[in-house]
């Protein structure tokens, strides 16, 4: 195959770090090339240089054999390079077709020829198998469809080399399968794809070759068919990684937490949790599986006291906490790792040290005479936790926003796990977190369980649910669709129920999803 793109010795320095250290990368025409690495390993920086958003300090870029300067996205687009970002850049109130043509409209005098635009979108979506309704408003379509619109935008601008920046981070497992199919279609039509991710499974399923980066340097490039999960994990982290969580069987005690007939409405007033009953015992992990948006978020927020309970009751250690404030619940032993650490779990403009006392900031030893901060105690607390939870960089006085996603999550976990909780609610505890940190957080969750804490784990990652849970419940459409012992659960069975299948209809020999081929 022809080489369509070559990066030579790209170096990019930011104040204090070398984000890309002499990285070379070659991409063959028509291949799907995965670019993997932990958070902060330099994947996005490298692609942003290729797309002209950053300027590299050193190095050369060759496109179709010729040396090129790419100093702004327009240059990249002219070279038929397109990029789909993790955070979409779509106008919510406009239709799909309008978004696709935005900025390069087909004009008729001063008017935009909307009909031609719709035709164009229909032609592209047929050609590449990207099903989406050109007349639908962006606000009304799913995240997966929005992503397809972003891909259409790039194709409409003539992209032959398509960069996808962590495209699966925002998708449900079903949407991921769909995306893998879309990528195969694009490849069949001759498009070259560079696919950024930190999930090894997706690399194995979707790519032809894979390049691994670690701490700004290239570790190596492999042909996907000739490598495997442990090898890639080791390349990413720099040491061998335990992909399976080691744990002993649970020894559950009495129930610590119970929800009775719980109903919760979201902010818009629609019923999202529809009469759920749950019980979590000391020393066990109850995993809640489910496609996102089936009421899990509302369930955990109601347990934490951050969303009002519409109906039903909540008990912690036998005490009714249905109407308790978040602070009262904390004092009774609730630890909560929220699903959105940046919005809920952290104050990004506060230092790591100040974040590590959020919620405890009003209690001794962090406060003296009931109102004065005790800075030395806050500092000491931070130094201890930064060390024992391996938060990097180990600087209590850095702002939380300067940390990588994985380390931000460690700050939340450190804070919530060390206040000796009785009930730990962990919502998507490893979302957007790199392999090394996932391993660490999983070990911590099991350690808490073994210490006799009741753990409620909500996750969209089936792997995570299966490897950590002792019991598993599946949430579908605001209800518990099924509950089972972990040993009776398989990925396929859970997946079947998650999509609305009735547990009794499940047969082991169902047709296989794309992701199961590994």
């Amino acid at each position: 195959m022809n080489q369509i793109l070559e990066l030579k010795n790209i170096t990019k320095r930011f104040p204090g770090v070398v984000a890309n250290d002499r990285i070379s990368l070659d991409v063959a025409e028509g291949e799907i090339h995965a670019l993997v690495g932990e958070n902060g390993s330099g994947k996005s920086t490298l692609m942003n240089i290729l797309y002209g958003l950053y300027e590299g300090d050193e190095g050369e870029i060759y496109v179709r054999g010729e040396k090129r300067e790419i100093s702004e996205p327009r240059d990249a687009i002219n070279l038929r390079i397109g990029m789909v970002f993790q955070h979409f850049m779509l106008v919510e109130t406009l239709t799909v077709a309008e978004n696709v043509i935005l900025g390069s409209e087909i004009r008729q005098g001063v008017r935009v020829n909307y009909r031609r635009a719709v035709q164009e979108v229909e032609r592209l979506s047929q050609e590449y198998g990207l099903r989406v309704d050109p007349h639908a408003k962006i606000a009304d379509i799913s995240v997966g469809q929005q992503q397809r619109v972003e891909i259409l935008k790039a194709l409409y601008r003539g992209a032959e080399i398509l960069i996808l920046d962590e495209p699966t981070a925002v998708l449900t497992p079903q949407e991921v399968e769909e995306l893998v199919r879309v990528m195969a279609n694009l490849k069949a039509q001759g498009t070259t794809i560079i696919f950024i991710t930190h999930k090894i499974k997706e690399v194995l399923v979707a790519s032809d070759r894979v390049t691994v980066l670690r701490r700004g340097k290239k570790v190596g490039t492999k042909v996907t068919a000739k490598t495997n999960e442990p090898e890639l994990a080791e390349m990413m982290v720099g040491r061998s990684v335990l992909l399976r969580v080691e744990k002993t069987p649970a020894e559950p005690q009495s129930a610590v937490f119970a929800a009775e007939n719980l109903a919760v409405e979201d902010e818009r007033g629609s019923l999202r949790v529809k009469g759920i009953g749950l019980e979590v015992r000391a020393g066990e992990v109850l995993g809640i599986a489910g496609v996102e948006g089936n009421g899990q978020s509302q369930l955990v927020e109601a347990i934490a006291g951050l969303m009002p309970v519409k109906q039903g009751r909540l008990f912690l250690n036998g005490q009714d906490i249905t109407r308790a404030t978040p602070l009262q619940r904390k004092r009774k032993g609730l630890g909560y790792v929220p699903e959105d650490r940046q919005r809920r779990g952290l104050i990004l403009e506060y230092t790591v040290a100040d974040n590590l006392v959020l919620g405890l900031h009003g209690e001794p030893p962090f406060v003296r005479y009931r109102f004065l901060r005790h800075d030395r105690a806050i500092q000491r607390n931070a130094e201890e936790l930064v060390e024992s939870y391996d938060i990097r960089p180990p600087q209590p006085n850095y702002l939380a926003q300067s940390l990588s996603g994985g380390n931000q999550q460690k700050v939340v976990v450190a804070r919530e796990f060390t206040r000796t909780p009785k009930l730990l609610v962990c919502a998507q505890p490893t979302r957007g977190v790199d392999v090394g940190a996932i391993e660490f957080i999983h070990q911590q969750i099991i350690a808490q369980r073994d210490r006799g804490v009741a753990v409620l784990l909500v996750s969209a990652e089936l792997d995570e649910i299966l490897s950590l849970s002792d019991r598993i419940a599946v949430m579908y459409n605001g209800e518990i669709a099924a509950a089972m012992e972990a040993r009776d659960a398989t990925e396929k069975k859970l997946g079947f129920i998650m999509l609305g299948g009735r547990p009794e209809d499940f047969r082991e020999e169902r047709e296989e999803g794309v992701l199961d081929e590994v």
Binding site: G345, I347, Y350, F371, L372
Partner: protein
């Protein structure tokens, strides 16, 4: 917290100074346009604000109320609230101060003055509590309500000055407050009073509240990320109301300073937009109490020197307003530029 120079953001500190320099540069173009000599104008501006003891005293006197209103706006900013009502809170504070100053004629000074000051802070604080409660409980935006309450405060104080508290003389003003309620002048003949000390103490107290107490931790948390604050067990509504009350109390102190120190009576609409200038002072001071002091001194100097420039050169004092506006412009633009730079740097 230990002070860590590595984490210090130098651009944040340098930026306001650069804004001022840029404003003066662009301002000089306007002076040229008006057909005058900018060098001469700025020389007069400087010597008449910092060049002599008398000039500096005038600068300090003009700066004092701006420290209070600047702190007021800055404090609300820290809680994510835009208090445009400092002007009205100032008038309510002034009303309370003049009432205490007129009514209690037998108190000794060391009780009378603190009493009047406290009354001003309390009434200013209560006045600001109204939009605070409306925001916290009903989600009504504080910008609307603080503006509305400004007008109510203007006309309410008009009513008292023309009606119940009218001094009996021709003008729309109260009688003079008794001697025991007047602030002591520090360097006569200038009208710098002990209010200057109170202003500096207020800045230190605001600093301590914001950065050294549990209350400050909670108020700033609410301002930066209310969802995370709520998660951290912080009562968001309570902190919004408290922040507005403290903000209003500080604005009320500005009213007390004007009544007890400068005018010794309540003159209808006495404030030359001190509350609104507080917004500019807070912006330039980056909502930091010590930044507010520096910004207030700068604006005080522009005020003092501007009057002299008007007298001694052919540059009109309106030019000072243009320069003040330019400073705000460059402060705002600078934040845009910095935000842009940050986005590019974020990897």
């Amino acid at each position: 917290m230990k002070f860590d120079f590595k984490t210090l953001d130098y651009t944040a500190i340098a930026a306001p100074f650069i804004s001022v320099v840029l404003a003066l540069l662009v301002g000089s173009l306007f002076i040229l346009l008006a057909g005058s000599n900018p060098w001469e104008a700025y020389r007069v501006l400087f010597t008449e604000s910092f060049g002599s003891m008398d000039a500096f005293a005038l600068t300090l006197q003009r700066a004092t109320p701006l420290v209070f209103t600047g702190l007021a706006v800055a404090f609300a900013f820290r809680c994510g609230l835009f208090n445009i009502g400092a002007e009205g809170q100032l008038y309510m504070g002034g009303l309370a101060a003049v009432w205490v100053g007129l009514t209690f004629t037998t108190l000794p000074s060391y009780i009378h003055i603190p009493f009047a000051i406290l009354a001003a802070a309390v009434l200013g604080g209560l006045w600001a509590a109204i939009p605070g409660i409306l925001k916290a409980k009903l989600g009504v935006h504080e910008v609307i309500n603080t503006i509305m309450l400004n007008f109510i405060a203007f006309y309410l104080t008009d009513f008292f000055v023309i009606g119940p508290l009218h001094g009996g003389r021709a003008g729309p003003e109260t009688a003079r407050i008794v001697e025991s309620a007047r602030l002591t002048r520090l360097m006569p003949p200038s009208r710098v009073t002990t209010a200057l000390y109170i202003a500096l103490i207020a800045a230190v107290v605001v600093y301590i509240i914001l950065f050294r107490t549990k209350l400050g931790y909670e108020i700033r948390a609410v301002g930066l990320n209310a969802a995370a604050a709520q998660y951290g067990g912080i009562n968001v509504a309570k902190n919004i109301v408290l922040a507005m009350m403290i903000s209003g109390g500080l604005a009320g102190l500005a009213g007390a300073e004007q009544i007890l120190g400068l005018h010794t009576r309540f003159i209808q609409r006495f404030s030359p937009d001190l509350g609104f200038m507080g917004i500019a002072v807070a912006l330039l001071g980056r909502s930091h109490p010590f930044g507010v002091i520096l910004a207030a001194i700068l604006f005080g100097a522009l005020n003092a020197g501007g009057a002299a420039m008007d007298r001694l050169t052919d540059v009109p004092r309106e030019l000072i307003v243009i320069i003040q506006a330019l400073i705000i412009f460059f402060v705002a633009a600078d934040q845009l530029v910095r935000r842009f730079l940050k986005r590019r740097r974020a990897a």
